[in-house]
Amino acid sequence: MENLYIPATASEPEVDFRFDTHSLTLKGESFPENAAAFYVPVIAAVESYLAGRSDTTIQVNVTLAYFNSSSTKMLFSLFEILNNAVLSGNIVVLNWFYDEDDDTILEFGQEIADDFAALEFRPQALV
């Protein structure tokens, strides 16, 4: 399937989902006016990429400096789908980049790791 690339805007993160190399990257800040309108198509693309897939190691790289409350909820849905992909025989590594001075981002990453225990959670402090 085709890769998905959405350039960053003032209030939306860069989406760089390279399905051909199994590398999914989200980067920037996320506070769109309508988080569902932004994330539902992104999540749908991931769902079709994952459909029927097994024995794949997927690298997910998240470098979000800020996300608003409605984006938080959508991100949670995305990680749920990725967690389910592990249950169908894939390996999903979640590289979670965070600013060492900002515990909120790391805490949210740990929340995800707690709820979606099948993800291989790798927190990485940005230097």
Binding site: A36, S70, T72, F76
Partner: protein, 194 residues
């Protein structure tokens, strides 16, 4: 200059002085009253980020102030009763409100205000009263529960807005409803300190 021009200049000077005086008295670092749209909020966010970056505050504090500003401003976009867009519209909304960011004794605070339908006020008051009486641990726990629950009808976000503001503020949030003479609307004000 004619005598008339001098008099106009004096008046302008005096208006500017009284405006600046009020600005100092209220510790204003940023004030906006008018239409809120996503583009306007994103532009203000950019200005605020620059201001915070030069404030000497920790990155975590900067992010909390920024986060609260976004939640409050997007609340105006989505819920202000003074609207130029349809009530159920989800994109390209345009609504009226105000936001005031100040700094007092080295601490930031944010106040936002917008009209709400009087009928919504009691429910909002209940939710905000509950938040005021919660400890930080309780707020975090409520946030986690809400994150995992289904969205409420009528919510355009995740039902997490007020919880996010309460979580990021360093003191209990303050609020006030000012009932309007028309009986149909109330001005809603919310304040958070950091």
């Amino acid at each position: 200059m004619t005598e008339h021009t001098l008099r106009v200049n004096d008046m302008l000077q005096s208006e500017i002085n009284s405006f600046r005086e009020l600005e100092r008295k209220c510790n204003v670092i940023f004030y906006y009253s008018g239409l809120f749209s996503q583009n306007i909020v994103a532009a203000m966010a950019e200005a605020l980020k620059q201001r915070l970056a030069h404030s000497g505050n920790k990155a975590a504090t900067q992010r909390k102030v920024f986060s609260t500003f976004i939640e409050m401003a997007q609340n105006v976009i989505h819920y202000s009763a003074d609207t130029f867009s349809d009530v159920d519209q989800q994109d390209d909304e345009l609504r009226h409100g105000a936001v005031w960011i100040g700094e007092s004794e080295g601490k930031f605070f944010i106040v936002c205000g917008n009209p709400v339908a009087a009928s919504r006020a009691p429910r909002m008051r209940d939710r905000l009263n509950a938040l005021q009486s919660m400890s930080q641990e309780e707020i975090k726990a409520a946030y986690k529960t809400q994150l995992r629950s289904e969205n409420e009808a009528g919510s355009k976000g995740a039902g997490l807005g007020f919880l996010t503001v309460a979580r990021d503020a360093s003191e209990p949030i303050e609020f006030h409803f000012d009932e309007q003479p028309d009986g149909k609307t109330a001005m809603f004000y919310l304040k958070a300190k950091f």
